[in-house]
Symmetry: C2
Subunit: 118 residues, 2 copies
């Protein structure tokens, strides 16, 4: 019933492929590993929270960027274009509606429609 | 725009009084410090997530309990009676609907109706 984040992250290695760790109130807690540059995208109807569990990454917005380190989080409001970039592998906890697609409105081969569970 | 959890927790000291750290999708991220025994309660319509940022505590249920340490989380489903107990101060991140009352269906002097923001 409880989830240990470090243990859960150790169970998968793919980058950019979120795993569902919990469901609540129509939302999901998802665990994802980033490495490299993702695709620019937005979510028209969903806000998205990124909490760094281990490592660091940069959230790029059009015209600015925010660096997130372990124990820091950010909410990307709906409609705002963003792109995560990670020089090294980073472990990130996402909180967002269950329906949120990882690549939002972008056409990208990394789109994952049926998320695996942890 | 970003929140550093350790820095945000350092801004308040009251126990059992959640602070709102972010809003998204009708949900809120709340930061709370527990110490001692809370009141038995449930939330009839809301699931509630508890993620330990620092320290440890025990979530008691009727007939069993779960110990949560740093980097571990638990979702308490709606309708399930629970009571957090912390021998020492613990810092906990909550993820739940904005409308969730800390004491749920219990009458308790620690009920907080208008949460402060971080």
């Amino acid at each position: 019933m409880k989830v240990n984040l470090s243990e859960a992250f150790s169970r998968f290695s793919e980058h950019w492929s979120p795993r569902v760790a919990a469901d609540l109130n129509g939302q999901q807690v998802k665990l994802v590993k980033f490495q490299g540059e993702f695709v620019w995208h937005k979510h028209d109807h969903e806000d998205e929270m990124f909490l760094v569990h281990r490592g660091r990454f940069t959230m790029e917005f059009r015209g600015r960027s925010v660096e997130l380190r372990e124990g820091e989080f950010l909410v990307v409001p709906r409609g705002v274009e963003h792109r995560p970039v990670a020089d090294h592998e980073v472990e990130v906890v996402l909180f967002e509606p269950a329906a949120t697609l990882n690549t939002g409105d972008a056409a990208d081969p990394r789109t994952v429609r049926d998320l695996k569970r942890i």
